[in-house]
């Protein structure tokens, strides 16, 4: 191992450097210039995102506990893009509400730490590294969820999150210890060799699965989602629903497709029933929500159910469709959260009924929202359609026709409530519509990025081919 070997940790090293720089900045930049911290952080992270796309060699370190390959590398870049967009749409909120209270920098430090944890989590080569990454990615988010210290609901959200996640990681850790007990190793590569479907192994797998299912908010591990999303600042809610969920899906996929692959006959049934439950419960609850954040929370639960359709296959096609779907989902959901963020920031309104007549006063914002919801609902020709279509194809190609049928039923249900918002914006008239306002540069940039994603990702087929090619590594 030479010093060069550390280059495979480029993502991690750079992000750590950014965190340290921000800490230094927090110390040395005088109070009245703290505003510039936001610009600095966004600039540095933008740079990091761009550099992130440079290729990295496939290798492993620390005796195999850290490894990377092209797909993992690509997925880290996807997470970077997501976080960058998230920072862009959060910039105004930070500058207006937070920096004035002199608490800007820790937002970035906490969020980057969480992302740092995710890097390790998805690059993990053993259960220890995985668990450390999981914890590191979760704990800062609890602090972030309680970020609005003046609001009781925000603190409640933070508490609920930390309690639930403590439970989840406890259960998960218990599961890992059982896997260790039956296989005698925590290294993924060793476990693959010896794993066999004994009862204890299966129990361990289920417990372990529950921990990640909590992060993806699959039914019945989803209850925290709506309460936390509603109370947390919108930026954090979107972080949880997009970035955190995406990373958890990715590592769950890796583990199911590699380490736990021999148990596929057990977990495919579990995934099957959880997919059904998640889609139906998520959609049925989303149907009744009035608060936009809760609404998006349940819609994101339902979306997670769709992702399981790719997960159940255990094939290269499944991997490719999941990564592709997550990428599209990041763009679509961030666009929706961005609009909610921008409106909430300007007017403090977060309810669906407040959106009535929005098209007349803020046509551009309404169009972005419409595209985002169409993409989430899967209406062609926006990207979301292709994402869902490929997921369904993957499941159907493995013979899960009934599951695909129920997924289609759920698409129809979801169409109903997504269109409720569109109807409110475009068709309803209101006596007190949200007045016209202009977004700042960062917000506009963020929304434009998401719209480009929604419009282009689905139609640009080389991207899918590229992902498909990368996906061969786990099969």
């Amino acid at each position: 191992m030479t010093i060069d070997s550390f280059l495979i940790m480029r993502h991690e090293i750079l992000l750590l450097a950014i965190i340290l720089l921000l800490v230094a900045g927090e110390i040395f930049i005088p109070e009245n210039k703290k505003n510039s911290m936001v610009h600095l952080a966004i600039f540095l992270f933008g740079l990091h995102t761009v550099i992130g796309f440079l290729p990295i060699e496939e290798d492993s370190m620390f005796g195999g506990s850290f490894h990377t390959n092209d797909l993992i590398h690509f997925f880290k870049s996807v997470l970077n893009v997501g976080v960058l967009i998230l920072l862009l749409i959060s910039a105004d909120w930070l500058q207006e509400k937070i920096v004035s209270q002199n608490r800007g920098t820790e937002f970035f430090i906490l969020m980057f730490s969480s992302l740092f944890g995710m890097y390790f989590m998805i690059s993990a080569g053993d259960f220890l590294m995985f668990y450390l990454g999981l914890e590191l990615s979760t704990l800062p988010v609890a602090a972030l969820a309680a970020y609005n210290i003046t609001k009781r609901i925000s603190s409640e959200s933070g508490i609920k999150f930390i309690l639930s996640s403590a439970l989840a990681s406890g259960v998960s850790l218990f599961g890992m210890s059982m896997l260790y007990a039956t296989s005698g190793s925590i290294y993924f590569n060793d476990i693959i060799e010896v794993i066999a479907p004994s009862n204890l192994t299966l129990l361990g797998a289920v417990l372990f699965f529950a921990g990640l299912a909590f992060k993806i908010s699959l039914v019945p591990f989803h209850f925290w989602t709506a309460d936390v999303y509603e109370g947390a600042p919108i930026s954090i809610a979107s972080y949880l629903s997009v970035i955190s969920k995406g990373a958890a899906v990715f590592i769950l996929m890796i583990l199911l497709f590699t380490v736990l692959k021999p148990l596929i006959h057990a977990w495919e049934n579990i995934v099957y029933s959880i997919a059904l439950a998640t889609m139906f419960i998520g959609n049925l609850f989303a149907l009744r929500q009035q608060n936009m954040k809760r609404f998006l929370a349940f819609s994101s639960i339902a979306q997670a159910g769709f992702i399981l359709l790719g997960l159940i296959t255990g094939t290269q096609l499944g991997t490719a469709t999941i990564v592709y779907f997550v990428l599209i989902y990041i763009c679509s959901n961030l666009a929706a959260f961005g609009v909610v963020q921008s409106i909430s920031l300007q007017t403090g309104k977060e309810n669906m009924s407040d959106y009535e007549g929005l098209y007349r006063t803020n046509p551009n914002l309404s169009l972005v929202m419409m595209l985002a919801l169409f993409s989430l609902a899967g209406i062609p020709p926006v990207a979301g359609f292709f994402g869902k279509f490929f997921l369904f194809t993957a499941a159907a190609s493995e013979g899960y026709y009934l599951l695909v049928f129920f997924a289609v039923v759920n698409v129809i249900i979801s169409l109903y409530y997504y269109l409720l918002v569109v109807r409110a914006m475009f068709l309803r008239k209101s006596d007190h519509p949200i007045p016209f306002f202009k977004n700042n540069l960062y917000m506009r940039l963020g929304l434009i990025l998401t719209v480009i994603g929604i419009l282009v990702l689905g139609l640009y087929s080389p991207l899918y081919d590229y992902i498909y090619e990368l996906s061969s590594v786990f099969n």
Partner: protein, 639 residues
């Protein structure tokens, strides 16, 4: 031969369409007319240059006209089955380029006068450009699928232009009728295309039409109900062609389409779009000829001959001059169809093919002229009906002379263009099929009769008391008339058989004097009869009409074909089939859906208690979830 510039021929009208369409409100009407004319002039110049290059410079290799193709792959299905986009040049494509360019340009110029003062002036030119683009695309198509795309596009432009006066109910109804009837026919076309694609593995014209190619050599490999599947495909494709070319019984839309502005009728419903069906059969002629011993060609021949006769008979009794012209168009299209139907492939046997294309060419010129002349008359007297006209020769000298030239041309009087092409068609029919020949000759007489009937009715006959004294149309309208009149005179002298033949090898055609004499004689009889009946105002015609009684009534009502269609669609399809289905749909299908919807909402209402807000409940659910999953999937399912 360098083809790259030919792609501009369709693209320029497309650009004009987009320009005028997008900036509809911002462009002054006077400018938009010039833009339209200018764009099409360039296309016309390019077309003429292409024709010159093709026919006289580089098209011929060893006495055979070559097919030039330039294309890119658009969609790939298998190694061979793919959809290309590109241009194809062969004799008929180049000839059609000239026809479309010349007529479209004349119509563009003419419309600047005819549509003046109209509110949608810019829109009108935008639609005309869209049509020209689509028609060029159809003509230049390299494969069945491409031709189908443009086939539908001309259908759409035709729909838009027929319904141009969209405040008039009759225009809207006519537009819908045209669209639905032709779409219905196109369904056949589409199925035919799919069958061809499935069984031959290619859409490419060159591959399909190659007499030594797989499609033609192995037509017999699959059969269905006594015929080869390829034959079925060709029949279905011909159904599509019959819809566009208004062959019986799919002709009903064409007379109604006259609701559109007259320049549109001249361009689309006389000269270009309606010949698309003929062009389609000609485009796939080797297939039609070689597959199953020209079985489909016989169908083409008889459908064409019958339509030709049927339309000519109806034309006699109509009083709306545009409708007379519409039925006359249908009749002439029937001529072209049966000419193709009786044609052979090699050398002089292929005279029918050549004659059909020749007639297509000359007919485009003189029929466009007739329509534009009629438009000029309608412009002057503000009516379509013969009874509102009469004695106009004094007021409109140029219209009169040019209309006379066109009438002589369509009646088949030498030396005007129609005589030469019609003569070749009759020669072809005479050599192959006596029945069709007799029908052809009889229709020639009828044509002369009804055309001179309206000619005398418009320009001679009674003096009508006009509210405003009619006057000659402006220069922008008379100029196209003169140009087309010149083409109608000289068009017949083109040695067509040298250029356009089925096997692309030229031959020398000679006038068959006895047959020509018969044709001229019949035409003269028709003209003399018309002269007796309609030259001066008299009641001879009415007396004859009474004498024929029921027959006259049937003819005047177009043999009740429209009523028959209405009966089938309204009384049978709508009442007996559609209404019960609609009821069923509403009650059971909709009802089920509504039930599901309300149940969904109800369920959602019932389960809301699950989300209590207490984190201890959540933890309980979490643990229970793990336990239940573990129990079910580990201890029950797997053991």
């Amino acid at each position: 031969m360098n083809l790259t510039y030919t792609i501009l021929i369709p693209l320029i009208p497309l650009a004009v369409f987009l320009l005028l369409g997008i900036f509809n409100q911002k462009i002054k009407p006077s400018v938009s007319g010039y833009v339209g004319v200018f764009g099409l002039s360039i296309s016309t110049i390019l077309s003429l240059y292409t024709a010159y290059q093709y026919f006289f410079v580089s098209g011929k290799v060893n006495g055979v006209y070559q097919t030039f193709v330039e294309k890119t792959v658009w969609m790939n299905f298998t190694e061979t089955l793919r959809i290309d986009m590109g241009v194809l040049l062969d004799p008929i494509a180049v000839m059609m380029l000239i026809v479309v360019s010349v007529v479209s340009l004349m119509v563009h110029i003419y419309s600047r006068g005819y549509m003046k003062e109209d509110e949608g002036y810019t829109k009108f030119f935008a639609f005309l450009s869209l049509f020209s683009f689509s028609m060029y695309g159809l003509v230049l198509a390299t494969n069945l699928f491409q031709i189908y795309i443009f086939w539908e596009l001309v259908g759409v432009s035709s729909y838009l232009l027929i319904g141009y006066y969209y405040t008039k109910d009759s225009a809207v109804a006519a537009a819908k009728k045209a669209f639905i009837v032709t779409r219905f026919a196109d369904l056949g076309f589409l199925i035919g295309i799919l069958i061809i694609g499935y069984y031959t593995g290619t859409y490419d014209f060159e591959t399909l039409n190659n007499p030594e190619g797989n499609a033609i050599l192995h037509w017999a490999s699959n059969s269905f109900m006594g015929l080869s599947v390829i034959t079925w495909a060709l029949i279905l494709i011909f159904v599509g062609g019959a819809g566009k070319s208004a062959m019986f019984p799919l002709h009903i839309w064409l007379p109604d389409a006259m609701e559109g502005p007259t320049p549109v009728s001249a361009l689309i419903h006389a000269a270009t779009m309606v010949v698309a069906g003929v062009y389609l059969v000609a485009r796939m002629f080797p297939m039609y000829y070689f597959v199953e011993d020209s079985f489909t060609l016989h169908i083409v021949a008889y459908v064409g001959a019958f339509s030709s006769l049927f339309a000519a008979v109806i034309a006699i009794t109509q009083t709306d001059i545009k409708r007379v012209l519409a039925y006359s168009t249908m009749s002439q299209l029937g001529y072209m169809m049966f000419a193709l139907g009786v044609s052979g492939y090699e050398g002089h046997e292929g005279v029918g093919y050549m004659a059909s294309m020749f007639h297509l060419f000359t007919h485009a010129m003189f029929k466009a002229l007739l329509f534009l002349g009629a438009g000029s008359v309608i412009h002057a007297v503000h009516s379509n009906y013969l009874e509102d006209m009469g004695g106009l020769r004094k007021y409109m000298p140029i219209t009169h002379i040019t209309f006379l030239i066109a009438t002589l041309a369509i009646a088949g009087v030498p030396p005007f263009a129609g005589f030469w092409s019609k003569d070749e068609i009759l020669v072809a029919a005479f050599e192959q099929n006596t029945l069709i020949y007799v029908i052809g000759v009889f229709v020639a007489g009828l044509t002369a009769f009804y055309m001179f009937r309206i000619y005398f009715g418009i320009f001679w006959g009674k003096e009508t008391a006009y509210e405003h004294t009619p006057h000659e149309s402006p220069q922008s309208m008379t100029f196209p008339l003169i140009v087309l009149a010149l083409l109608s005179i000289v068009g017949g002298f083109i040695p067509f058989s040298e250029f356009v033949t089925a096997n692309k090898v030229g031959f020398e055609a000679h006038l068959n004097y006895p047959l020509a004499a018969i044709a001229i004689g019949v035409a003269l009889i028709g003209i003399i009869l018309a002269w007796v009946f309609y030259k001066k105002e008299n009641d001879l015609a009415d007396r004859f009409a009474k004498g024929f009684g029921v027959l006259y009534k049937w003819t005047a009502n177009k043999f009740y074909v429209d009523e028959l269609y209405l009966f089938i669609t309204k009384k049978i399809l709508f009442k007996r089939v559609a209404t019960p289905i609609a009821k069923f749909e509403k009650k059971y299908v909709d009802g089920t859906m509504r039930g599901i919807g309300s149940k969904t909402v109800l369920t959602s209402e019932k389960i809301k208690g699950m989300q209590s807000g207490r984190v201890q409940d959540y933890a309980f659910a979490f643990i229970m979830g793990v336990v239940i999953i573990a129990l079910i999937f580990i201890y029950i399912w797997t053991n």
